[in-house]
Amino acid sequence: MLTLEDWTAIALTLKLASLTTFILLLIATPLAWHLAQTQGWWKAPLNALVALPLVLPPTVLGFYLLVVLGPKGWVGQSMQALGLETLPFSFTGLLVASVLYSLPFVVQPIQAAFSSLDRRLLEAALTLRAHPLDAFFTVALPLSKQGFLTAIVLGFAHTVGEFGVVLMIGGNISGETRVVSVQLYNHVEAMNYQAAHSLAALLVLFAFSVLLGLYYLNRGK
């Protein structure tokens, strides 16, 4: 069955996915709100930029992150100048990569929810003495609950499923960057199919439950 190494990888994956989802909610909410409201020329390019990780091979994203964050990249050099460790092959680096990689999966459902909001409800809140920010938290957010739930589930699940980006930027360090998908790869490389089966089955079960949950969630709308 599952080894200690496997459990470490599972715990790490869950930690990574939770933190990624949390950070993404903080970033995606204002971003999605802006995208849903703005009529500016930058709306289309920004939308395209956010959606980029959907179509790019994860290795491309991982490669550029490695270049930019690495000791010779401009972020890496500035971090070294500040006396900080560079990000590649660290959990933090993996976190940064995951946030970028899963961004569209969190932004898009929230943006869709915000776009379908009835603007007049927000205006009604303003005429009832609510500050715009107050109206956002008491009217826009509760009415977009469905979009947020979808975003959380998709963001979390998609982070659990990442592989290419991890290999490029995180490598294969136990307890630091070795997530479940990489551990599975290791088992297969070592011809340990029995161990691979257990992990793979677990991921299949996880993915199925997530999609089933989403289905029920959207049906309850």
Partner: protein, 358 residues
């Protein structure tokens, strides 16, 4: 006394709002005009929901907006209530929570006793624990009105609040509006294109066309101005104030006295001394040159011809002075010609029907 001074200039793509307006401090001011005249836009400007290029808005002694001084009080800082065309209730909150939403955000909310009165007036006490989705259209709109009043506004703005309702629900709400205004002594600015709502509610009338104010003034004065489209329409009407004089139970006739004479109207009994507003359609007034014979069922009233206008549909609308009131009468152009009317001439007007509005 002026309550609201509003100057706005707002350019949208193919439309320009250009308004200079003063509204009186009391009663219901109705803004009307064809759709696309800019009446809702004007109301949104007053509320601060639009940001016009040039804007000045003063409510009593409070300056809300003056673009020349870069002053702009945001919507949520203006002491007003707003009722939208659709009720716009928050679907995730119950009726009670909807009403509480604004109420808990103001320093001086409507006193509990006052709120109780509003809930009773609007007949929504039994709905408090329901979600908006479980309400009928009329109920939703009544809740929306209560929600706007609960913040204890100094001015109530209503944007076609009855337009989305069917006829039955309109009748359900209209009577409440007058009573609300009277019981709460709250000035109301009300946008509508319905002639019925105008005559029933307005004390002051503003007529808009293509983003500009075409005419404004006391209801009677604007209704009877022959140069305006209101008087030239098939549904032209005038409004008079009358007092209940007596009731004839045998024929179920109400005797009403106004400055021009006495009217009798089939109706249920009303208490003597009651002040009523009557709407008289121009087509329900007929004219003759002969003084009335005695013992006529509805005696004609002496009236002076003030002016008339021929309009395209083969009709002529006349304005008549009857006592202190002005009445409109509509005849076919042929009938008017055969009468051979002259300005200032005395004629006899028979009022064939009148509707009691309040």
């Amino acid at each position: 006394m002026v309550m609201l001074t509003a100057h706005f200039q707002l350019k949208l793509e193919a439309f320009e709002l250009q308004v200079q307006l003063q509204l009186p401090a009391t009663g219901i001011s109705v803004i009307t005009g064809a759709s696309g005249a800019g009446k809702s836009l004007l109301l949104r400007c007053i509320a601060g929901l639009e940001s016009p290029q040039i804007g000045y808005c003063q409510f009593k002694d409070e300056l809300w907006q003056d673009s020349s001084r870069r002053l702009f009080l945001a919507v949520y800082q203006r002491p007003l209530g707003y009722v939208f065309q659709e009720a716009c209730l928050f679907p995730h909150l119950t009726v009670q929570q909807n009403i509480a939403y604004g109420r808990k955000r103001v320093a001086l909310p409507q006193a509990q006793a006052h709120l109780e009165l509003v809930l009773a007036l609007l007949n929504i006490k039994h709905l408090l624990h329901r979600k908006p989705a479980k309400l009928s259209g009329g109920e939703k709109q009544r809740v929306a009105i209560a929600r706007a009043l609960a913040v204890n506004p100094k001015l109530l703005l209503m944007d076609e609040p009855l337009a989305s309702l069917d006829q039955a629900h309109k009748h359900e709400i209209l009577p409440y509006l007058r009573r609300l205004q009277q019981e709460l002594a709250l000035p109301i600015v009300y946008v509508t294109h319905s002639p019925r709502e105008i005559t029933q509610l307005a004390d002051y009338l503003v007529l808009m066309e293509a983003g500009k104010v075409l005419a404004s003034g006391a209801l009677q004065a604007v209704l009877t101005r022959l140069d305006l489209p209101l008087a030239q329409s098939q549904r032209a009407s005038s409004v008079i104030q009358a007092e209940v004089l007596a009731y004839d139970a045998e024929f179920e006739l109400l005797q009403l006295k106004f400055s021009g004479g006495i009217l009798s109207l089939p109706h249920t009994e009303l208490a003597k001394g009651n002040l009523l507003r009557l709407r008289i359609y121009a087509r329900d007034v007929s004219l003759s040159l002969q003084p009335p014979r005695l013992l006529e069922a509805s005696p004609s009233l002496p009236a002076q011809v003030l002016a008339w206008v021929d309009h395209s549909s083969g009709y002529t609308t006349l304005s008549l002075q009857v006592g202190h009131e002005q009445l409109l009468a509509q005849l076919t152009r042929k009938a008017a010609t055969l009468l051979g009317l002259k300005l200032g001439q005395t004629v006899y007007a028979e009022i064939k029907n009148a509707a009691i509005l309040s």
